[in-house]
């Protein structure tokens, strides 16, 4: 009985949290869960805390549209940086939207050493 009841409570809680969030912030356009997976391609270089180290700039907490525009400029080879051009070359529009949604939702906390 317990094991059946537990997920029901958890998902009710999840819906509640989601509802609360939705009032504060517009719903992200991209698929955040997909973005979280794709972000593993990026965090070999970019720190998820938003801390800038050396020549690797922070990419968290950006407005989604701006993020998409900048990533597209590497993908279309308008901005020239070989590593960024190569890593973005195969990304689709949906994937870039997902990344924008995921990174856009991360708090900027450069003091965390991550």
């Amino acid at each position: 009985m317990k094991i059946i009841a537990a997920p029901a409570i958890a998902s009710a809680a999840a819906m509640f949290t989601f509802g609360a969030l939705a009032q504060d912030k517009p719903k992200p356009k991209g698929d955040v869960a997909f973005g979280e997976y794709l972000s593993s391609l990026c965090v070999t270089c970019h720190l998820p805390s938003g801390k800038a180290v050396g020549g690797i700039p922070p990419i968290v907490a950006w407005p989604e549209d701006q993020f998409v525009a900048v990533v597209n400029s590497y993908r279309w080879k308008e901005r020239d940086n070989e590593v960024m051009q190569t890593v973005t070359a195969q990304l689709s529009d949906d994937e870039i939207a997902a990344l924008a949604a995921y990174f856009g939702g991360l708090p900027n906390q450069p003091e965390v050493a991550k």
């Binding site: 391609l41 070999t44 270089c45 050396g54 020549g55 070989e82 190569t86």
Partner: protein, 424 residues
């Protein structure tokens, strides 16, 4: 006893189920992933499986060391650009942040039939999926006259740690006018540009400390090497007369070394009383995968390009230097990239989470002089026969000093990124 144990496991599974509302919790407990080796591949895989499964998978990391010294940027340590502490990282956050169990032991064997790992103390750890990222073993019999018993006199420093410190100490003791010999490794080996970045950093250390009349001779068994044009241009520019590269046609074979007299004999010349001899021998995958029958005649392990699973055992995933990863070089970046693919696929198999087609990437930066870094990299896709390069890039010979300086800042940032990705 058996009943009580079952009750206990069932009880904890129920508790986990109600807290996390995990749909996959089964009577016999959570699925188990065991990771052998806490390097670039293993630490990343352990972290991602534990982090992304949010408690649904039990992850055990088997790695005897308390802290891992990266081979990457160990050449910057030789060149005086980093301290030893800066290239050494502890595992404690993997335990405290993600609940990974760190077993500080050597894994002696893999019992593939029973799906268990046999530890040095004889105990066994059961797995549903096993990740093995043991790195390389050195072929101590590949250079005549040299063996494990000589590695403190003629260090390899191709597995980072005390070896790296010995090499640095010997480099610091070289006097102006003395001779250093590096014996470069034959293909395939870990980090294709590594030996040549190392020579650049040794040359920088000598030149910047008033020892510009020392010389470094590279005896290479290969006809050519990674980023050759870029390295040779840099050596001409920054260290003229200091670095000499000799391919097999010139040295006519590396015949033997004598650690007692610090002598290196080639078909062409005998180098006596060398101040430092850095022997980088031939390599193969870590012993554990060879003993388990996972390697082929090359000494490395064939894998399925879609998911990094062993070509001969779908329950075992082989990452990093030990794998035959097609067009991907043996690098820390590659191992980290492969680990993320394997982590995704393993979670998909064990918890039915979403999976996506594999994507692999690599970039290797090499510091050739202060503020002058070159890079090579690419992205890679699984094809039926091997992981195949889809797009690659390489620094050009005519780049501006400003550009090269910018590339070095990427290298510094990447190191912070990958080590945070592995250990925090």
């Amino acid at each position: 006893m058996i009943n009580r144990r079952h009750v206990l496991i069932g009880g904890s599974a129920l508790a986990a189920g109600s807290v996390l509302s995990a749909p996959m919790v089964r009577a016999q407990g959570k699925p188990k992933v065991v990771v052998i080796g806490g390097g670039a591949g293993g630490a990343t895989a352990a972290k991602y499986i534990a982090k992304d499964s949010k408690g649904e998978i039990e992850v055990t990391l088997i790695e005897p060391k308390e802290a891992y010294t990266t081979c990457f940027h160990s050449n910057l340590y030789l060149g005086g650009f980093k301290t030893f502490d800066e290239i050494t990282h502890k595992y404690d956050k993997l335990v405290s942040s993600y609940g990974i169990k760190h077993v500080r032991q050597w894994a002696n064997a893999i019992d593939r039939d029973k799906k268990q790992v046999v530890l040095a103390d004889g105990s066994r750890v059961a797995y549903d999926r096993l990740v093995v990222s043991p790195g390389i073993d050195l072929k101590y019999d590949s250079v005549a006259g040299w063996g494990k018993e000589h590695e403190e006199v003629m260090p390899h420093a191709w597995q980072a740690g005390p070896q790296t410190q010995i090499l640095k100490k010997q480099l610091d003791a070289v006097k102006d006018g003395q001779t250093i010999v590096m014996i470069a490794p034959p293909n395939p080996y870990r980090c294709p540009p590594g030996p040549y970045e190392r020579v650049s950093m040794m040359a920088h250390a000598l030149k910047s400390s008033g020892r510009g009349k020392a010389r470094i001779i590279i005896l290479d068994p290969k006809e050519n090497f990674s980023k050759q044009g870029l390295f040779q241009q840099a050596w001409e520019k920054y260290y003229p007369g200091l670095v000499e590269w000799l391919g097999p046609k010139v040295h006519d074979g590396i015949k033997s070394v004598d650690p007692k007299t610090m002598t290196v004999v080639t078909g062409f010349e005998t180098y006596k009383n060398c101040a430092l001899v850095n022997v980088i021998p031939a390599q193969r995958a870590g012993k554990i995968v060879i003993d388990a029958g996972l390697a082929n005649q090359t000494g490395f392990c064939p894998i399925n390009p879609e998911n990094m699973a062993s070509a001969s055992d779908p329950n075992i995933f082989i990452l990093g230097d030990a794998s035959i990863a097609g067009d991907m070089p043996k690098s820390g970046f590659s191992a980290n990239s492969q680990a993320k693919v394997a982590a995704l696929m393993i979670r998909g198999e064990l918890t039915k989470s979403r999976t996506f087609p594999a994507r692999y990437a690599n970039t290797c930066w090499s510091l050739v002089a202060p503020d002058d870094t070159v890079k090579v990299g690419g992205r890679y896709e699984p094809k039926p026969d091997k992981i195949t390069a889809a797009e690659t890039f390489l620094s050009k010979l005519d780049e501006t000093p400003e550009h090269r300086k910018q590339v070095q800042t990427e290298n510094i940032g990447w190191y912070a990124g990958i080590t945070a990705d592995m250990f925090t």
